[in-house]
Subunit: 338 residues, 2 copies
Amino acid sequence: MLSERRLQVLRAIVQDYVGTEEPVGSKALTERHSLGVSPATIRNDMAALEDEGFIAQPHTSAGRIPTDKGYRLFVDKLAGVKPMTAPERRAIQNFLEGAVDLDDVVARTVRLLAQLTRQVAVVQYPSLTRSTVRHVELLSLAPARVMLVLITDTGRVEQRMVDCPAPFGEASLADLRARLNSRVAGRRFTDVPMLVEDLPDAFDPEDRGTVSMVLSTLLETLVEENEERLMIGGTANLTRFGHDFPLTIRPVLEALEEQVVLLKLLGEAKDPGVTVRIGHENAHEGLNSTSVVSVGYGSGGEAVAKLGVVGPTRMDYPGTMGAVRAVARYVGQILAES
Amino acid sequence: MLSERRLQVLRAIVQDYVGTEEPVGSKALTERHSLGVSPATIRNDMAALEDEGFIAQPHTSAGRIPTDKGYRLFVDKLAGVKPMTAPERRAIQNFLEGAVDLDDVVARTVRLLAQLTRQVAVVQYPSLTRSTVRHVELLSLAPARVMLVLITDTGRVEQRMVDCPAPFGEASLADLRARLNSRVAGRRFTDVPMLVEDLPDAFDPEDRGTVSMVLSTLLETLVEENEERLMIGGTANLTRFGHDFPLTIRPVLEALEEQVVLLKLLGEAKDPGVTVRIGHENAHEGLNSTSVVSVGYGSGGEAVAKLGVVGPTRMDYPGTMGAVRAVARYVGQILAES
DNA sequence: CCTGGCACTCTTCATATGCGAGTGCCAGCG
DNA sequence: CGCTGGCACTCGCATATGAAGAGTGCCAGG
């Protein structure tokens, strides 16, 4: 186990390195932090920390920088979450309150997060899995063509075209619309398949084909849309990443374009609070030199989606975690109100 | 006026520079292109071209590189549009045909363009201005709360919430829905205001407030959604930009995040064919070292939106223009079919 | 266990130097 | 008049060399 002072040293190293972006040496440490001991002592502590794998030196005779393991310890034991100041909170609230629809909420959230953290922001659209159906609308566009519109309680709208096997009258359509809504409106997506299972039986044989097709399209939509959408922003902040650009930034940009990768990344964080994945903890190679700070958010108590930021492992964790948490909280409020 | 050979020299310089990314000298030119004259002659031509401002040398005693003006001449007079090969066409078509809905079409188009051109792709969602209304749906969510759903002929769906000044019965709602659709279905957006102007008069006085409110929300939606959306992709290709990274790439990333900037950029191109804006021709500062190749696309003959790519001024113009044009063509087809 | 001192290692920066690419100009030739 | 070969010149780039500085590890003493 590491002594109390050694933890202090690690904390100081992380803080200084995050601030200056340069390897930090023993002398500088004693000058900037009142640790009450001499550089030589610090050197011993540093050697110990290095043995344990918490810090490393880029090249012999340079200062130390934290390793992923070092950041992990820092985040877990040494740093809290830095709460937002009152003015910051007000600014967040004001900015988000101006949103006019769901897309706008997400767009504003992305901008806000990117600006607050000066990093790349990622916001997942509210998930459908846990959402409920607000309304299903059916529109006849042609005798044998129906448009299906699904509206969720988060305000999301999805539409699909259905080509019917046989012409489908307005009366049947109205009937189906009414029956469908009375069964699924207000229900959870996961319950829908069960609820509509026997619906075709209520219709004339010649309409059953169409009804089944509409239903299967509806179910498809529910499943497909589980492949969440997300929005990213603040990629220009990547330019502050490091000096050795192209090699660092490219895989990150590539990873950010792979929505699948990002969704998996966000999805993996099961923690109820703020989750931090540091460097190599991220499965995707391109993100091995980045950390991902994410948190769930939702309109009620339940989290329906995730949001977070992607930045260099050398980031201000307490501040970033604070910003992410605060934004998630306010977005939740906004969603609950609308 | 420049002699024929000097134009040839300019063309050769552009081609070589685009290929190698290095300033091209007189000797290299004669070796790689059969111009039939000696390096010395080329040197004279180069001096002339430089006097006219078509080429420049980064530093004394280096080869020449084209200036924006040089690229302009190249694009206007010296280069055609390189058509896609048959396999490429097939690939484009196959890739786009898999799309299931409008979002998917746009997403696939972005990926495709980015891959084909190895540059940043920008695709504007089909515009509403020139679109027609397919259907307007009204849903009663609460006695005094109505959801308005607008469906366009391009398959786009927009929804808005309307808080009514007074409770609004199902019967009135159905009435309004029917009247509204009989008037606006199939009509152009721009005609809608005129068409619904006198609609409140047909209703009971106590319902008129609500009707007006629904109508004004509808009109707002039409206008607001004129602020087009767009999707970008392939930003990882920016890493191939140049060697002097951070300074070059940052303003570009920033510009790309300002959708307003991009929309203006695309909007400015009035040309019926492929439009190329080179370097400083782009109003936005951040894009002064990039060229934008764009073209309109649409389901019918009419262009309803733009798509294009953003890349370094040093790009393969004929190839890029060919790819952009081809993709636009096929997207138009896909949209017309659906 | 902490401290000051000391020798050692390595990176970084500046300066110097040679090389090569490419130019501009000129005199001569068709 | 235009093209050509030759030649001197300029400059950027890369490599080498050396001095400086930062930081370490270790050790002996308090």
